[in-house]
Symmetry: C2
Subunit: 225 residues, 2 copies
């Protein structure tokens, strides 16, 4: 299997969605190769219909969108370790995916300028143009005052913190796709920015370290910014 994986300069892999899929593939024990892909190369993937990564190539099939890919892997490799732990876990993962999105929105407002800095030169203009259109202002203004928003962001980690009083992973005793979703979400700022979002003594930091160790240290192999 081949995974088109967003890449910056120096082969830095930073996409939160691609990280989810890489951990899901590893969880299933599936060998895979990645293709380092810059923003401006996405349109050239496969049949040319793709506008985002990850895109997973499995033989003739081209599957996109991280959640759809996870469901595809779960169904196609049903005899391998489960990504969802049953139908309730699969349904709940949609809510967790939404929770992760609410985190991504906040994280984006703190690190988007740093992302520009780690991109390949040929991707920078595309990135700045599309993001400034989305935010409606210069990236510098988007991230201004991020220190003041850090406490609010940390409050939105409360659900995870409360859960960790009861179990080491969102998946329970072991990690599953719910962990992959949230890991990818926080791997993103780890890889693009030296601005540290999680307090060292936060139980969320300990959980994140456990996730970095999963699957022979797959996540940790990517250096932090």
């Amino acid at each position: 299997m081949l995974l088109y994986d967003l890449a910056g300069a120096d082969d830095r892999r930073f996409s939160p969605y691609c990280w989810r899929v890489k951990l899901a593939l590893a969880h299933k024990g599936l060998p895979f190769e990645t293709v380092a892909t810059g923003f401006t190369q996405i349109a050239a993937i496969g049949d040319g219909s793709h506008r985002t990564v990850p895109v997973l190539i499995d033989g003739e099939r081209q599957i996109r969108e991280s959640f759809v890919i996870a469901e595809y892997l779960e169904d196609r490799f049903a005899d391998r370790p489960s990504l969802f732990g049953g139908p309730g876990g699969r349904a709940a993962a949609r809510l967790i995916d939404g929770y992760a999105t609410s985190l991504l929105v906040q994280i984006g407002r703190m690190v988007t300028l740093d992302i520009e800095g780690i991109l390949r030169p040929e991707d920078r203009s595309y990135f700045r143009t599309t993001r400034e259109k989305r935010f409606g202002k210069p990236l510098e203004e988007v991230v201004a005052g991020r220190e003041d928003r850090l406490a609010g962001f940390r409050e939105t980690l409360l659900p995870l913190r409360l859960m960790l009083r009861h179990q080491p992973f969102v998946g329970g005793a072991g990690a599953n796709y719910a962990d992959h979703i949230l890991f990818g979400t926080l791997q993103w700022p780890r890889v693009v920015s030296s601005f540290r979002l999680i307090a060292e003594d936060d139980p969320v930091a300990a959980w994140f370290e456990r996730c970095l160790d999963l699957y022979d240290g797959l996540g940790r192999a990517q250096a932090a910014a």
Copy 2:
């Protein structure tokens, strides 16, 4: 089975945690009776060890804490409709429980003064004293400016809103304990306060209406404030 259920004046049932358990019992198809219990009656329940409701009495057993009760029901009545939809759903429900707590914190800061107003006269002093100690200020100050916090609260419903693009319930095609958790969380302000927290055109409002209809309208039978 007997459920000690928090009650205000006019037999108003408003506890978010008790509502979770009532829906869970109904989901399992278990007949149950409730005992209307004021705050100052909790210490007299059963063996006298309880400080909160719900408390479920099942023969000789006294079980407290809504999540523990849900797990008890799931295991004891494993042949009946599942509350979690498998081990992944059960584990994920802990995160959803944490998410609900983060909502409860915000809701509390908006409706705690209204709660005092719906209590039995003999419970009001206990409520005000304990809550003002917890908040560190008069209840009037806690809720002051709640209109200004409404937009922020509605933002924290984003995970649910995003999920509802894909499925009608957190449980997927049908409701399960993950829905009960969040339903109870929002039933609480519906029953204690005329301050409306959810915009009418929010998909979350439509989901909440579906939850009010569950189990022959169990939640809807309790009038709104």
